[in-house]
Symmetry: D3
């Protein structure tokens, strides 16, 4: 758990933040309240997220209590948070720090709100989970159904407009860009959303629709509309999407190379 | 009007909310303030929307007065609100309640703000209408020009990134997904936006541009770019969109089947 | 600078606002606080933007100080603000005023926040610049990296979902619509984002990826995915984009004609 | 009622405010929101008071609804509000306007909150009445029990520290200064607080304790402690208070002459 | 501690509140957030006080953390809170409930903030203690130095204007009314404020100055200025105060009989 | 002025605050925002006061602008602020720092708001001055008419309930305690309030009424009611006040010895 003595991710965030607070005094107040005042990552993150979701009708104090309880009862969240942060640092060419995504990336914030909502959903508190989904959609323009299952090491880059449906499953080490939809087909209940394997890269604006399988290490080109299964380690693109090649890397999510060529 | 003794939609919302308030005490405060304290749907909705649009420069009290006046002077809004709620329950496979969209779906909230703005626009209060359009765009990432004419029974699903231009017309029982544009072509004033028939389904990310006609019961595939008229009961897809088939249902908006096949 | 005696843009905004404040008393309070109380455009804009970015952890007072300092130290911002306003009035068929975009268009607001962030970035205050980028993304759903270089006379129409990467360069008199991405390819640092010439029109949902060149006067069709250089005065469209014609005008950004035909 | 066509008090407030809004543009926004946007005195006052009592847990919108209902159901409040305003203008040497006390005098604000709480108390809504008493005490440092009966034409000058108990009765045209207590003696329930006649002046810091009678036209000197009945048209002073003279005027409340002499 | 299974004070508050929430739905939202959502008295009180002290520069979330830690580390606070509530119910003739003072009495709120500040002061966190003193003074118009030692079963009735200095000591079961000062004499540091025994009643506006002793069961008349020791079970009154009699009860604080007679 | 290179008062506040921010990290955020982020005393104080007076209808940003302008145009305010701070440190036995009164003493805050209001009043902006008086009264329970003339080196200790009328004049190096009134007699306009000399000490609860003169170095006992001139270097006490002795010091305000004896 996060309160164990040695947490290298939290130590780095804290250290990076201390430097920024000294170099940029105008942010010192914000950085103290959000990070430096806290003893561990979970405390800082629950404070930060609760502040972002604060509203006249549900206070940040109450929101924070719920987040803290979710962190405590769904113990895998702690590891996922850290994997997600390290994933961003590894893959985002504009970011080689941990404090920046922690403080600023709304894809990261939305993802952690989802982890809280998913935890609530799993323990039968569906009303509360839907409340968090709604706040996520309003504040971050990211709409992930609380029932959706997401792995760890996920990067939701830029994130605006992302939609992920209730029966979607996303593996580990996946990168998803803005305006992507993992959507359903039809109004019937049941298993109706995509299953995305490990290491997959889904580029900006891609729409993946229906209970189809995107194999491990696949790459979905920007603006594609995917209506059929995609084999592992395959690049698809177009409207509707067709196979156009093979990703240069085993885990295209880690390389973030959005290019593809079509003949 | 909503204050008549029997309003089954409001009765259901109230009853569903009472159950949730008992099962989930952490939300009881929010649910009382937003729904249980009110005597009719219009009172609750004006309170809820005003809270969402509150800002330091224009208070929620003033916003609520304007919304209440619009509900009173444009009497068709009441029926549309109820049709919109029933449409979501009917079509959204993740939702078989009325309280959930009322409380949480930003597509529903944006649509009702549009109905208010459209009412203001129609009575010559253009400045106020533009103010509401702006708040809608900022809070919900939905940008519908106040002059646009929308029917009833509309579902704006997920809604982020939706843009609808000033001379667009949308029929009844239409379903529109996230990132859709009903846009113009050219900087000239005049009738320059799409006309969408009844029962149409417009899938995620579709861009429909110009004063073209989308016939009743048509389906526009995800990610399509539509630049020409679409005949009734036809499925189009692609960039630019071409006819690819016929919807399985008379009103594809009700079925929400986003699949299409292209040869 | 804005405080010189004659500023026709500010004079028009002020005069238009006075009329609205008289015709629509419900907005008078908001209009006084935002525009009529101020002596020049920069004072009003810094007030307006600071209000929009206000949060419990960083107060509007502090934000306004930073914005005011940026306006003072990066003296070209003043001209760009005015060019941007005039560009919207010229090109947006739904708007022939200056007060409306000043008050309400979130594309305009996001762009000016970017100009502030870019100024901070250029003077070595990267942490502060990233803070502003994050606020822009959260409040306006527009994500422009502070290092990106944008010209003047820019219209970001509707704006939701726009993403512009760190090494992107955008010329003067460009029009960009909602859900557009000027993105990178790959996780390596270095020059990796598009270079967009003058007068270019980029339609809704287009994704332009990699260090490629979009020539002066080019037009990128809605929903296109552009992976290669586009010659000047050329229209491209499709996924992936191909040349489909020649814009009717020298500067398609000014005409806003999104139509294209593909054979 | 206030909505009748001719309300000279409201007309004066509105006219005075219009002049101030023009002379002092920095206040124009506040004055529009608080007065100029409204059609009658009750609308403006309910807006103003609700804003002052706003809190994270009970919104100004809800507070205003309650105030508006009280104004409507206890119809004598309207006359009392106007008498109170005219009384201040008549008696306060630093004020010959109506807009100033309406906008700024917390004694006036506390008194009108009491009138609302008293109305609620009288209709059996004791919990709500106590809520308003508490807000009054917190915001204005004035603590009047909702059951206390106050006449009209009351001036609560400066007002900080005023306490009036549950069974106190105060006549018409009374002036009460800061730090005054109309208190009880003993913990038993029952009629235990002072009865103050018409036209009485109670100077700063006076404590009047127990179910005693302060006759019409009496004057209570500053800092006095009154434990026994005071005959009409008599001046008392001292700790404990003794008769020291006769007021120069029939209604010392109107003259506001706090001087007294003791031999 | 408060989390033990049986806490009759909390059970009564909770039960009384449930009844009010049903009878007065307009308060249900407030009552849920403040009391019904919580599992024990300390959780509810820390939430309630943090809300009252919330400000743009120090968030309610942070305030609540500090209050919660003080409740946990200074374990006698729990008993004092309950004694204080029971004291009010016993002595205040206008109140025979526990929920009313818990929710509304600012004397009770100020006293509990003092208990927190005193706990912080005792553990060497003087800066934080002074911060709380300031918030207390601003929000409740009650100014108690964090070093002052107050017993339990204290009623601060009405409370506006109360001042208690750093070296003051107040026993158990004491009642103090509004505008009372327990002040020092002189600018020298050292023991310079009053020592008040058990069961003492200090009436409204009394000023007790210097390191003097007010004996057990004494009564200080309203408006008195006390500059010398007061023997136990003695009534003093006047400016300066002199002995005027003997209280009818052993603990005048419990009887709240403010009457006294002077010959 | 404060922006000159050497300002020992500001240097001390800054240095003291830095120490506190390190010792008490929970306050670091507040201290950075309020003091450490600023370059001079006036910048910090205008920020701090504007935050305290913030309200939904008049934003802290606007308030700060007005305060800053007053500091700039009434250049004597800068010296008075510093004298007031040094006076508190010199006289208040519970305070030997400058940061504590700057941050926390509402008497100090109210006094500086008065200096701003007095400056506005003197330049003909009476409406704005009254607005500030009202905010002062509401937030700090201190009511000083903007026309009142106060010297420098003033300590308003504890401050709750203080009232000072329009034609009052207060000299330099005066100490005034809580619940004091410098009031008028009668409703006529004209010079009607007390004139207080230099070095005077006015103890808690004293009421000084009418256009009378309190000579240099006089002392007014707690709870006194003063209706006649007080000679210099004289102690008065009682209701009504009589001469009871001679202060031990030339300037009793500096010694803060509230004791007096009456025979």
């Amino acid at each position: 758990m996060a309160t164990t003595p040695i947490d290298p991710v939290w130590q780095r965030i804290h250290r990076e933040t201390q430097q920024v607070a000294q170099q940029e005094p105008l942010l010192a107040s914000f950085l103290h309240a959000t990070i430096l005042n806290h003893n561990d990552l979970e405390s800082a993150l629950s404070f930060h997220l609760a502040n972002k979701l604060d509203s006249p009708t549900v206070s940040s104090m109450l929101l924070r209590e719920i987040i803290t309880q979710a962190f405590a009862s769904c113990t895998n969240i702690g590891k996922s948070i850290r994997d997600d942060l390290l994933a961003i640092e590894e893959r985002d060419s504009a970011c080689n720090r941990l404090d920046t995504p922690f403080l600023y990336y709304k894809g990261f914030h939305a993802l952690q709100i989802h982890r809280v909502a998913h935890c609530l959903w799993g323990s039968g508190r569906e009303a509360l989970a839907l409340f968090f989904q709604n706040k996520m959609s309003e504040e971050f323009a990211v709409d992930i159904h609380p029932a959706a299952q997401l792995g760890s090491g996920i990067m939701l880059d830029h994130a605006t407009g992302l939609v992920i449906g209730a029966t979607a499953v996303v593996g580990n080490n996946v990168s998803i860009l803005q305006s992507v939809t993992l959507g359903g087909t039809g109004k019937e209940e049941g298993d109706r959303h995509p299953k995305v394997g490990n290491g997959v890269l889904i580029s900006a604006g891609a729409k993946i629709l229906g209970n189809i399988r995107i194999g491990d290490g696949a790459k979905v080109g920007a603006g594609s509309v995917v209506l059929e299964d995609v084999p592992p380690h395959t690049t698809v693109a177009g409207v509707p999407a067709k196979v156009v090649g093979t990703p240069a890397s085993d885990q295209p999510a880690l390389e973030m190379d959005h290019a593809f060529s079509c003949d």
